[in-house]
């Protein structure tokens, strides 16, 4: 049995002697990986954006109209903090609320000047603990807030939350179905491309058999070649994808994003795992070809 170094040298020699089929295979597989990677990256970012929105869900509890002193406000805040699922609580005095409203109205802020008195109530803004079950938690927190004596009304955008939860479910379903289709297509195209590349070695394989080569001797370098093909196609796809991410990221960074959301690329471990997977997909194509031709020879 030849050492792995010698097998790799034979594999590289084979690539050097068949540059064109290998280059075409590299580009084809690279483009397939690029498409699959682009979908994955889009999914990761949309998921991250939705999570940021979700984690930013707040409930606003409007207080009864009264002159709340500091001690009363502290009591209300403490009561709110005791509610399960509350991450933090902030008191918004009605003066602050009308000021914020004026700022948000911009040029129309003058309309507020005609008001004889501030119609807005004091309020507390409650942010719920992020993570799984956010929607249910928001509803529960809102219900408990309504139960506080000093609270007149609670608003948390129930309809929006329900629509958003439904949208998230649909999006996840579509992503899973589309992702599975993409993965199957990527595997199939890669295996097909690898098979075509190996076809260029068909005569060589036959001759090697006739001079006494074992199947291991014949297929090990081909397996290494296709693993390398997958790996380099993966590097090509990741590099191109990073280029697109960098280009797009530079233009949308200052967009009106929610919470802590920022466009993100795959983490280093994810990139490494992706490259290993790309290599394995290439190798899998070789194994499929080997199994098929072995079955053909048995017939």
């Amino acid at each position: 049995m030849m050492k792995m170094g010698a097998q790799t040298a034979r594999a590289l020699k084979g690539v050097r002697h068949n540059k064109l089929p290998h280059a075409l295979a590299l580009v084809t597989i690279g483009l397939v990986f690029l498409l699959a990677g682009a979908f994955l990256l889009l999914f990761v970012n949309v998921q991250s954006l939705l999570t940021a929105w979700k984690d930013n869900v707040r409930a606003i509890a409007y207080l009864e109209k009264a002159d709340w002193d500091e001690a009363a406000i502290a009591d209300i805040l403490n009561a709110a903090r005791q509610i399960e699922g509350v991450a933090d609580v902030k008191f918004i005095p009605r003066e602050q609320a009308i000021k914020d409203l004026g700022e948000s109205l911009g040029a129309q802020a003058g309309l507020l000047k005609d008001l004889e008195e501030n119609p807005l109530p004091d309020a507390i803004v409650v942010r719920v603990v992020a993570g799984p079950g956010t929607w249910e938690r928001v509803e529960q927190v809102a219900k408990n807030l309504s139960g506080l004596d000093s609270v007149e009304d609670v608003e948390y955008g129930r309809a929006w939350v329900e629509r958003f939860a439904g949208f998230l479910d649909i999006m996840t379903f579509i992503a899973v179905v589309f992702g599975a289709l993409m993965a199957a297509a990527a595997l199939s195209i890669t295996a097909g491309t690898v098979r075509l590349t190996l076809y260029s070695h068909k005569d060589q394989i036959e001759i090697m058999r006739l001079v006494g080569a074992t199947e291991r001797f014949i297929w090990t370098p081909l397996f290494i070649t296709t693993c390398l093909l997958g790996l380099f196609a993966g590097i090509f796809a990741l590099t191109a994808l990073f280029g697109v991410y960098w280009f797009v990221g530079a233009r949308v960074e200052s967009g009106p994003w929610v919470g802590d959301f920022a466009l993100r690329f795959f983490s280093w471990p994810a990139c490494a795992a992706g490259l290993v997977a790309a290599g394995l997909v290439g190798g899998l194509g070789c194994l499929l070809t080997y199994v098929q031709q072995a079955a053909g020879r048995e017939e």
């Binding site: 049995m1 058999r209 001079v211 001797f217």
Partner: protein, 228 residues
């Protein structure tokens, strides 16, 4: 059937059909260790088919074949490569790997057998020199003339010091001088103990060598002369 250690090759009632046509018909024949024999006959007589069966490139329809005392029909897939390494084959169409240099084509046999690089370089270099094609070591086969390709094919067949050499029309594409060189090389290997089987329809070549001649006609042995 009994195994005879004197036999390099023995066929017992071997028949090979292609789509109902009998390419070989109930052939019984033995070639002894260290023997030099020609297999001749008109085109389509079954010469190449016989050689194909002997270098284990095709299954046969009926009968038994022993090669170096191994029954090829009962041999598992793992045994085939080992047996093939003991057989050097010069193919009629050369079967050189077009993407490999002359040196790599010849060296392949030794790489397959797991020989080290130094040994391979020395052995292949020596063989290419003896064939007069050492200057073509880095050339690709398709850049060579037919005669040169034949020599490369011969060098590859001899490289592993095989016990049996099977040559299918080894001088078919050569001029008289080159054919003489090739024959001398085959005779030299025969003198060193190899069993040599040459399939040819070149009557002059057969006449000049004064060796055993097996004539096939319509897939059957029509005559067998000059044997021990």
């Amino acid at each position: 059937m009994s195994e005879n250690s004197k036999d390099a090759i023995r066929l017992f009632g071997v028949t090979k059909t292609y789509g109902g046509q009998k390419a070989l018909n109930n052939v019984d024949i033995a070639f002894y260790r260290g023997e030099f024999a020609f297999v001749t006959g008109p085109s389509g007589a079954g010469k190449s088919t016989l050689l194909r069966l002997l270098y284990l490139a095709a299954d046969f329809t009926q009968g038994e074949i022993l090669v170096l005392n191994r029954n090829v029909k009962r041999m598992g897939r793992s045994g085939l490569p080992m047996l093939r390494r003991k057989i050097g084959v010069v193919f009629q169409d050369f079967k050189l790997i077009s993407s490999m240099s002359v040196f790599d084509n010849v060296a392949l046999v030794l790489e397959v057998a797991g020989k080290d690089r130094k040994f391979i370089a020395k052995k292949v270099g020596h063989l290419l020199r003896s064939m007069g094609i050492e200057g073509k070591a880095n050339a690709l086969p398709q850049s060579l003339s037919g005669g040169e390709q034949q020599k490369v094919a011969l060098a590859r067949a001899l490289c592993g010091d095989p016990e049996i050499i099977l040559a299918d029309e080894p001088t078919g594409s050569l001029d008289e001088d080159a054919a003489s060189v090739v024959m001398n090389i085959l005779l030299d290997y025969h003198a060193r103990g190899a069993t040599v089987l040459v399939a040819t329809h070149d009557k002059n070549l057969i006449a000049s060598a004064q060796k055993r001649v097996v004539t096939l006609v319509n897939g059957a042995v029509a005559s067998d002369t000059g044997g021990p």
